[in-house]
């Protein structure tokens, strides 16, 4: 056969023993591997059935921290200013409480939100933090605008995240 350069010649290694050439023992070795694999634990995570375990550093959807049934937010509007995608809208009002100001309207457009966490970083009151919720799907775009009713989340529920922030900020 003419060797035209493009044809690669494969030379079998000559140091195969008789047992290796006979193939049967090699098949048995392969079978030991495959059968052993059957009984090993599987890599797959049964996702919707078993929820994924989150690290406290996970940035889910931003929420307002609710302490003793009332939000910590003082409606300073810093989060709204820092938000790169202009997703947050805050409307302030006065209150008899010690903090004097509170947001009468607080809306995050979840279609615009990019989960950057700037609002959480800039907040002086630790009032807006990133939660571990991430399942956000809407049938209509107006459903994507989350008001205070959907944004409030209790401190107990956010305990891990708040602790993480205190340690790392």
């Amino acid at each position: 056969m003419k060797d035209n350069g493009s044809v690669k010649r494969v030379i079998r290694k000559e140091d195969l023993t008789f047992l290796q050439k006979a193939y049967i023992t090699e098949i048995a070795k392969g079978l030991r591997l495959t059968i052993g694999k059957i009984f090993q634990p599987k890599f797959t995570h049964n996702y919707p059935d078993e929820p994924w375990p989150f690290q406290p550093s996970f940035r889910g959807r931003p929420v307002l921290v609710e302490e003793d049934g009332i939000e910590r937010c003082v409606a300073c509007g810093l989060c709204s200013r820092v938000c790169p995608s202009l997703a947050i809208e805050v409307q302030a009002s006065e209150t008899e409480l010690e903090k004097e100001r509170y947001p009468i309207r607080f809306e995050i457009n979840m279609i615009r939100c990019i989960f950057c966490g700037f609002c959480e970083e800039v907040c002086p009151e630790e009032a807006i933090v990133m939660s571990d919720e991430y399942l956000l799907a809407f049938y209509q775009s107006r459903d994507a605008i989350y008001g205070k009713d959907k944004l409030l989340m209790s401190t107990e529920r956010l305990a891990k995240r708040l602790e993480f922030l205190r340690e790392n900020r």
Partner: protein, 345 residues
């Protein structure tokens, strides 16, 4: 008349069981291959995904069957039918138990108790190549044709060693009856080892198993459908129910091949050492059927595990293995068996 009714009942039961087994062997294949690859496999439909085969069949039935414009329509329709029919018909001569006492009659647990059982199996396994060859030719597609050509060449090469390795079994048994083959394996070698043909003639066993893998187009000999090079091989142009028939036929071939291996080499329905226990005949029959089923399932699992152990042979490797190794080995097996029989009897 009475024998006809009994035969009919046996046919219905065996066909139903066989088709269910075929559906579940697909499930077993998917599940076991998933386990070998560190995955979970189908586990969504029903408990542990056990209803998956039903969902698969329903899906295939409702899919559109597309026939290529220039295909030979009658042959294109006929090919999958041949494949499945041949696979199911082969099971007719396989004894899946000894005898059972029902309603005062002694019923043999075999559909067709013919005296040329071994020949029947060989004949039908040769016909199965027609299904694949016709499918490839009638599709008018180069990949299909390549697949079916490979299949024909492979079948011719391996039919020979298949037939020749069975000759060893026939020499030992002295009969072509499959129930005689099984009864001959109920003895014991040296009083302890069951006289299964796989212990009596290991060379013949290996050549037969390898040839059976090639006959069923299973890995490592699945060249007719070799998906990386031939798209889907002979069934490239098939869809819908007709593809489903090919799919079922492949697994029916697997089950029948396991059943034939069990019957010829692994002692059929006989469970070793059970005859020392002196059980009731009814119990013995049931244990026989269960033993047969267990053995077939184990061989089937072996076939599935082999699929993920050995990579596909190249075409020239396949040919040289068939003609330069398997063929002489099978001849050698006949020679040794004949010589030993001549000396000892």
């Amino acid at each position: 008349m009475e024998t006809l009714i009994i035969a009919f009942i046996k046919i219905v039961i065996v066909t139903l069981v066989l088709l269910t087994a075929v559906a579940y062997s697909v499930y077993a294949e998917r599940r076991v291959s998933a386990f070998i690859q560190d995955r979970l496999g189908p586990n969504r439909v029903g408990p542990f995904g056990l209803l998956q085969p039903i969902a698969d069949v329903v899906k295939l039935v409702f899919k559109e069957a597309i026939v290529p414009r220039d295909a030979n329509k009658p042959l294109h329709d006929l090919a999958p039918v041949i494949s499945l029919t041949v696979a199911l018909a082969t099971f007719a001569v396989i004894p899946f138990g000894n005898t059972i006492q029902l309603f005062g009659r002694e019923i043999k647990l075999i559909i067709a108790d013919v005296n040329i059982g071994v020949l029947y199996i060989l004949a039908f396994s040769s016909i199965s190549v027609y299904g694949i060859a016709l499918a490839g030719w009638s599709s008018n597609n180069k990949y299909s044709l390549m697949g079916s050509l490979r299949s024909s060449a492979q079948m011719v090469s391996y039919e020979l060693s298949l037939g020749l390795s069975v000759v060893g079994v026939i020499l030992v048994t002295g009969s072509l009856r499959l129930d005689q083959v099984v009864l001959n394996q109920t003895n014991y070698l040296l009083g302890v080892i069951p006289a299964w043909n796989c212990f009596v003639q290991p060379i013949g066993f290996i050549t037969f198993v390898v040839a059976a893998f090639a006959e069923t187009n299973r890995q490592p000999f699945d060249l007719p459908e070799a998906e990386p090079e031939l798209v889907g091989g002979f069934h490239t142009e098939y869809s819908g129910l007709k593809f489903g028939l090919f799919f079922l036929a492949e697994y029916a071939h697997m089950i029948v091949a396991s059943a034939v291996i069990t019957t010829l080499y692994l002692g059929g329905w006989h469970l070793p050492y059970i005859d020392f226990l002196d059980l009731a005949p009814m119990l013995m029959s049931i244990i026989g059927i269960l033993t047969f089923a267990t053995k077939v399932i184990l061989v089937l699992l072996f076939m599935i595990v082999i699929r993920w152990t050995i990579p596909r042979f190249r075409y020239d490797q396949l040919m040289s293995l068939g003609w330069k190794v398997m063929f002489p080995m099978a001849l050698l097996n006949i020679f040794i068996t004949g010589l030993l029989l001549l000396i000892f009897s």
